[in-house]
């Protein structure tokens, strides 16, 4: 069972505040730890590998955040983020089955689990999608530039889908669910223009909203 904070909780009960956000958990030491560094958020969008390749042609050694499933397959990651705490255990096991060099990956989610390093308890407010949650973490950690790859925020299929989902379009559809996801993002970026200024995207609706690199 997880308890989340609605945006209307403000900073009640928070143990840290930074850049317009607050919360609890064991993350206070992460605040501003990425200052002056670019971060790349890799989501599940179908173009994630091509877009990451493009970023790596321009930026040397950015901090790479994997989001959900794609973390199993990316060549190198520094942080792995998901709103689905229990799934991370299985995804981590799959990655470990692949032959790779030794790597230090930090796992982030919202519930206390033995395999999760950083628990963003009571983060207020919290984005609805794991990709935006990862973007939020990078911002709180002080990244100078946050580049979205495979986070189109529209109805593009995921890298493992044969066809796009028909029940959810990540903000690109007309139902209340999609509208809510997009409305939340737009409202947050209006509230924190400095956050929006730091984000770029290589594809999809987020590219038109945040701009490209």
């Amino acid at each position: 069972m997880t308890t989340r904070n609605a945006i209307t909780m403000g900073n009640y009960g928070a143990s840290w505040e930074s850049r317009g956000y607050c919360g609890g958990g064991n993350v206070a030491d992460l605040i501003n730890s990425l200052r002056y560094r670019p971060a790349v958020i890799c989501g599940n969008g179908k173009n994630v590998f091509d877009e990451l390749t493009e970023v790596l042609r321009i930026y040397v050694d950015p901090v790479i955040f994997a989001v959900n499933d794609v973390g199993m397959f990316l060549p190198k990651i520094d942080h792995w983020v998901s709103l689905h705490s229990d799934f991370l255990s299985a995804w981590k096991a799959v990655r470990w089955l692949h032959p790779k060099e030794k790597e230090d990956v930090f796992y982030h989610s919202i519930d206390k689990r033995p395999f999760i390093d950083y628990i963003w308890q009571g983060l207020t407010p919290m984005f609805a999608l794991s990709g935006y949650f990862a973007m939020q973490i990078a911002y709180i950690m002080g990244a100078e530039l946050i580049i979205l790859c495979g986070c189109p925020g529209d109805d593009a299929k995921r890298f493992f889908d044969l066809i796009p989902r028909d029940d959810f379009s990540y903000g690109g559809g007309e139902n209340g669910s999609d509208k809510g996801v997009r409305e939340q993002l737009i409202n947050e970026m209006e509230r924190l223009p400095d956050f929006k200024n730091k984000v770029r995207s290589l594809g999809g609706w987020t590219n038109s909203f945040f701009g490209g690199i």
Partner: protein, 160 residues
């Protein structure tokens, strides 16, 4: 048979015994305490206590009197086939303010496709917490749909 006229507790306090009332007795300044939540991916509403996620919505200050609740959502569950419920309460009573309410798109909505619940549960009406209390929403039976929104406002009268 003779009819009987009785005094309410409040009438007795103020008008018969002439006790000094405070703002809560006479319906003084009402203060809105809004809440809003966008459903986050992975939020769970299960059949048993261990798998029902909750969301902290707002804080009702100590010694206020809760006098009203307005609640709206755009249908937290997709359809009648997945009729989960949301209830509002606190650590002392998990449905003190709103009993388990089905909030899917066609659940008797008085305002088109958006569901609106009106009114405060009986046990929550005129409730006076003695310490600050966090209002919690709790999902039951089925998982709410990511991106859906519920929002509302509590009306309270401060104790002083």
């Amino acid at each position: 048979m003779a009819v009987t006229n009785r005094n309410s507790t409040l009438y007795t306090k103020l008008s018969v015994n002439k006790y000094l009332g405070d703002a809560r007795d006479v319906g003084g300044r009402a203060v809105p305490i809004p809440f809003e939540h966008t459903i986050v991916s992975g939020e769970t509403g299960g059949a048993s206590a261990g798998v029902r996620d909750t969301v902290n919505l707002c804080v009702l200050p100590a010694n206020c009197m809760v006098v009203g609740l307005e609640f709206s959502s755009n249908g937290l569950w997709a359809s009648a086939g997945a009729n989960g419920t949301l209830q509002l309460g606190d650590t002392g009573d998990d449905d003190r303010y709103m009993i388990a309410t089905e909030l899917y798109t066609a659940a008797g909505s008085p305002v088109g496709s958006d569901f609106k619940h009106q009114g405060l549960a009986f046990v929550g009406q005129n409730y006076k917490p003695t310490a600050d209390v966090i209002v919690k929403g709790e999902y039951r039976v089925a998982n709410p749909v990511v991106g859906k929104i519920f929002r509302g406002v509590f009306w309270v009268i401060p104790g002083a």
